[in-house]
């Protein structure tokens, strides 16, 4: 592959407007019409000047405390949010797993949800038909597929969701804390998938709170703190920075 970055993030800033008074009712506007034009609140910078280049085949970990802006960064990479300023360039097909089981509906059966979720993730219906048995086998849910999803335990739902997700074929995967899935045996299966992504030369961005998985899978890691990216030379330094906060 050439050395064009798979994901290039340049000077990305993202700010959200945080209103101070949440509920503006008509009465409030009527008694003080100027409010319509001057909404009180502040711009809050969730991400400040993010620069990150991820090359094809890299397995990059992003660590950071809750509220440090990890999810916002992922959503910007995935094209769900637009950056306030700066640029994001993605080369290649991308599947973001910001949540497992996107679109799952509790009233539909396991089988119906496989097709719904699969197509939302960009898979073709024919391909899903072919892979259906494989998905069900992997999830170990043969007996339950014609039951409504609401009768699945949460562990079963996550297993089904994960089994669909891994069928997605893309160049770039974005994984948001999906490692903490199921029991030990199932986790081991998931790790096998990560190893497979790695050996297939896929680009993976992994957000996790587990220093162990970062050390095990990532080639490189960055530490996000209060919307600023901190770079370190080694993964150990990153996990150390994360542990120290």
């Amino acid at each position: 592959m050439d050395n064009k970055p798979a994901i290039q993030i340049k000077n990305v800033r993202k700010s959200f407007f945080l209103p101070h008074e949440k509920h503006d009712t008509f009465i409030e506007y009527a008694t003080n019409p100027m409010r319509l034009f001057r909404r009180s609140g502040e711009q809050y910078d969730v991400l400040k000047d993010i620069d990150l280049e991820i090359y094809p085949g890299e397995f990059v970990g992003i660590m950071g405390r809750n509220g440090s802006g990890k999810s916002t960064l992922l959503k910007i990479m995935a094209g769900i949010y637009e950056p306030t300023s700066g640029k994001v360039k993605v080369n290649g097909s991308m599947v973001p797993f910001l949540e497992l089981g996107v679109g799952f509906n509790p009233e539909l059966t396991g089988r119906e949800n496989v097709y719904l979720n699969g197509i939302i993730l960009g898979m073709k219906k024919n391909m899903l038909k072919e892979k259906y048995e494989e998905i069900v086998d992997f999830a170990e849910l043969e007996k339950f597929m014609d039951m409504p999803l609401k009768n699945f335990s949460s562990g079963m739902q996550v297993r089904l969701a994960f089994s669909i997700a891994i069928m997605a074929d893309a160049d770039i995967y974005i994984l948001d804390e999906v490692l903490a899935v199921g029991d030990v045996a199932f986790q081991e299966k998931c790790f096998d998938i990560f190893r497979k992504y790695k050996s297939d030369g896929k680009t993976v961005i992994l957000v996790t709170h587990s220093p162990g998985s970062v050390k095990q899978f990532c080639d490189r890691a960055v530490f996000l703190k209060d919307g600023v990216l901190h770079y370190y030379n080694t993964i150990d330094e990153v996990t150390q920075a994360y542990i120290n906060g």
Binding site: F16, I80, E82, V102, G103, N105, I119, I120, G122, K124
Partner: protein, 254 residues
């Protein structure tokens, strides 16, 4: 592009299926509901008010079209919001959400028309091939119009929730500004002028003409409905432009 169609049809079939989950009669309601509803209207207007045959069928057709219009506008309006969970997690062409919601209303329309055909066994209608074409163009106009309005309203609804209640009132107003229960001729001439400005007046009038009295269709009718269709396409394009310019920023306002 292939996935665009698959996603659209997946959203349509899922949301359609979900409506009838957990009910005993399930999918039977698609036919049963309009059958019962129109049965009530039909019986009232035959036995109590003794209206003539063409009035009754025209009334049914008018109600079907206006209900579809209202339903499609409201479904389109809430479409983005109701798919917020998916929109926040994955990138896909957002307009699919609006198109699928509006399409569901037109699937309902199709089943309502089947019921209309059942009623036409008792009260024969007089349609021709040309008449049917005129009718089809009327339905197409409403479809295109609601797709356009849906794209406008769905975006506005995210920031301004009041629009939902407001639209319910406006739709009620539009219903009574369209000759459904009354005919244009019943109104004083100066009021007729204003009622005719409502594109839905023309749609309902020509749909009735095409489907119920097909032999009276003239070429001029096609010019008229062609103009309406053009206006509807203009609304669609404006709605689409508005949607495209706003929708990329919508995720953070849910």
């Amino acid at each position: 592009m292939n996935n665009y169609i698959e996603l659209l049809s997946q959203f349509i079939s899922t949301d359609f299926k979900l409506r009838y989950k957990n009910s005993y009669l399930g999918i039977v309601w698609i036919i049963l509901k309009p059958l019962a509803l129109f049965g009530v209207i039909y019986l009232i207007w035959s036995n109590i008010f003794h209206m003539d045959e063409s009035y009754k069928m025209g009334l049914l057709l008018g109600i079907i079209i206006m209900n579809t219009f209202s339903e499609a506008v409201l479904m389109g309006l809430t479409s983005l919001m109701s798919k917020a969970g998916i929109i926040l997690k994955i990138k896909f062409p957002r307009e699919i959400v609006v198109f699928s919601a509006v399409s569901i209303s037109f699937l309902d329309f199709f089943f309502n028309m089947l019921v209309f055909v059942i009623f036409s066994i008792f009260t024969p209608i007089n349609t021709t091939l040309v008449g049917f074409l005129l009718y089809f163009l009327c339905v197409l106009s409403v479809f295109v119009l609601t797709l356009g309005l849906g794209q406008f309203l769905s975006v506005i609804f995210i920031k301004l929730r009041d629009i939902h209640n407001l639209m319910i009132v406006i739709l009620q107003l539009i219903f009574w500004m369209t000759p459904i229960y009354y005919t244009l001729e019943m109104l004083p001439p100066d009021l007729q002028k204003y009622i005719k400005l409502n594109p839905l007046t023309l749609v309902v009038t020509y749909a009735r003409k095409g489907l119920i009295s097909g032999d009276t269709v003239r070429v001029e009718d096609f010019y008229q409905i062609g103009t309406v269709l053009l206006v509807c396409f203009a609304v669609f394009l404006l709605g689409n432009m508005f949607f495209r310019s706003k929708v990329s920023k919508i995720a953070e306002y849910f």
